[in-house]
């Protein structure tokens, strides 16, 4: 059911680890369909004075597609400027993996959203300027997460608890 590329990333996931002292974390997920992702980033300035993703890693609870997309998005984002990293979409991640089964496109294909959230949180906590597009994307993701929280609050809390002790 999965492409060879998906299986390659599932069996040899890249950048899969919890990061010590990240500059920011993005969390996205959907408890009902069982996928939760944490994306960690370290951000630095390059020689031109642009902020770039110096290091990126992830932890994901989820199916094969969720693991593979997490792995792929971090490969795509590593070393990119924040501006370029924000151009990565969920669809592009799926394309880079030679496609995902159609039922997985909306459920498990959240990795780019996780990256968006990590960058948003970074800019927001540093009181830096947040581009309008990013605000919009963040609001959409937040809305979705709130809906999940509302419906499956107990599960999300347990998930947080397990993640802390994990």
């Amino acid at each position: 059911m999965y492409s060879d590329k998906v299986m390659e990333h599932f069996n040899n996931p890249q950048n899969q680890r919890k990061m010590e002292n990240p500059d920011s974390i993005g969390k996205v997920g959907n408890a009902l369909c069982g996928d939760v992702m944490w994306i960690y980033v370290k951000i630095d300035e390059n020689e031109e004075g642009n902020e770039v993703i110096e290091d990126i890693s992830w932890e994901t609870f989820g199916c094969t597609a969720a693991i593979a997309t997490s792995s792929m998005v971090t490969e795509l984002a590593k070393g990119k400027t924040l501006e370029k990293a924000l151009e990565i979409t969920n669809e592009e991640v799926a394309e880079e993996l030679d496609g995902l089964p159609s039922v997985k496109m909306h459920c498990s294909n959240l990795a780019a959203d996780g990256l968006v959230e990590a960058i948003y949180n970074y800019l927001n906590s540093g009181e830096k300027e947040i581009p309008e597009d990013l605000k919009k994307r963040h609001d959409q993701i937040k809305q979705h997460m709130e809906k999940v929280q509302e419906e499956y609050g107990d599960y999300v809390e347990m998930e947080e608890e397990m993640h802390r002790t994990g």
């Binding site: 069996n11 009902l32 069982g34 609870f61 039922v103 459920c107 397990m162």
Partner: protein, 383 residues
């Protein structure tokens, strides 16, 4: 690498050699249309179709005219449920359970959309229906009760005899989806009015099954055409498939006494050893369980990942995790027995079969703990 270790026999089974052989005759040598008049067609009718009907009705303890051949259990379920509803002039009340196969649940949802009322009985933590619940739910306008004989995911065998008796007291029809039970152990038809079964779960071919319909039960057909199967299922009969179904049934009957204890012993060994894995649990009952079924949940990891990692090691099994279903929700059966989402996501179903060997079980028991450990190391939700 090991040869394939197939542990998903509740999904489907390989066709037995003797079944394939019995079928092959009716593809070419005796290919006639059972409805035709000349002699070669007569062979297809008598030796193929009617002899098969006889073998199956003998096995069930039913009359020959009570067997309606279909394309499989999904059709049988639909014919039973919609067939009863359509045979009535008015909207009616129906009773089923939360843990039925989708062929039953979605047929009932279809009826609900058309003005019928359906009560979905819950089950206890083992997946058992409480006969008292059924008794309370029966109404004067109840047309049909449909409760599965054995659950495909967690293996629970329902007290069908008792449930059908309660239903009969009220003069209400009783249907059971017996896909997982048929051929595995002797079925007591008792007060059962309608029963669905399938060929491919018992080492027969896919695309064939039957509906047992007690004589006199009123059904409206779903297919209209040449009036085959007493007008209840038009369409030229799938003679090779039907012959395969009958042959498979007889094979199951012949080996029941030896095969069931053999599979149960292997299965019990799996349960005993898998439960040594930390934070694991058995889903479904200890008693009243299909002898070949084991279903586990592992805390902190996701079921599809377990299945894919086992697949890498050439072991085929299945999961009730959301990722395995097009609806992207975890198994309704696991949620119905009260499993929290976290555990429903981390489930693994192992179903043994005729070809499962002790070596296969040993291999699974070597590989599975490693897979679980590997996945837990990588899981953000695991200690």
């Amino acid at each position: 690498m090991n040869e394939l270790v197939y542990m998903d026999n509740a999904a489907t089974t390989p066709v037995a050699k003797s079944v394939r052989k019995a079928m092959s005759v009716f593809f070419r040598d005796e290919f006639g249309n059972p409805s035709s008049l000349y002699s070669t067609a007569t062979t297809a009718r008598k030796e193929g179709l009617e002899r098969s009907r006889e073998r199956i009705s003998d096995f069930l303890g039913a009359k020959q005219e009570e067997i309606i051949f279909t394309s499989g259990a999904t059709e049988s379920d639909n014919l039973a449920i919609k067939g009863v509803a359509l045979s009535r002039d008015e909207s009616a009340h129906f009773i089923t359970t939360e843990i039925e196969h989708h062929a039953v649940l979605h047929a009932f949802e279809w009826l609900e959309d058309r003005g019928h009322e359906v009560t979905y009985l819950g089950v206890d933590e083992d997946g058992l229906v409480d006969p008292a619940d059924l008794r309370k739910s029966l109404r004067d306008d109840t047309a049909l009760v449909s409760i599965m004989y054995a659950n495909n995911e967690i293996g629970t065998i329902e007290p069908i005899g008792e449930l059908a008796d309660i239903t009969a007291e009220k003069g209400v029809l009783f249907h059971t989806d017996a896909v997982q039970a048929y051929g595995k152990f002797p079925l007591d038809l008792g007060n059962v009015d309608l029963l669905s079964a399938s060929g491919h779960k018992i080492y027969g071919p896919k695309g064939v099954g039957f509906l047992y319909r007690r004589k006199g039960v009123k059904l409206e057909p779903l297919f209209h055409g040449g009036g085959h199967e007493k007008g209840l299922r038009s369409g030229t009969e799938n003679v090779p498939g039907i012959v395969g179904l009958a042959e498979a049934t007889e094979l199951m009957a012949e080996e029941q006494n030896e095969e069931i204890p053999r599979e149960r012993k292997l299965r019990d060994k799996i349960i005993e050893e898998v439960l040594n894995i930390p934070d694991s649990r058995l889903n479904g009952p200890n008693k009243n369980r299909l002898p070949n079924n084991a279903n586990f949940s592992f805390k902190g990891i996701e079921g599809e990942s377990i299945v894919m990692k086992l697949d890498n090691r050439n072991i085929a099994a299945s999961t009730g995790s959301a990722c395995s279903s097009p609806s992207l929700e975890p198994s309704h059966v696991l949620l119905s027995i009260g499993l929290p989402l976290s555990l429903a996501h981390g489930s693994l179903r192992i179903t043994l079969g005729r070809e499962t060997t002790e070596e296969d079980v040993e291999y699974l028991l070597e590989e599975l703990p490693e897979v679980i450990e590997e996945l837990r190391r990588a899981s953000p939700l695991s200690n």
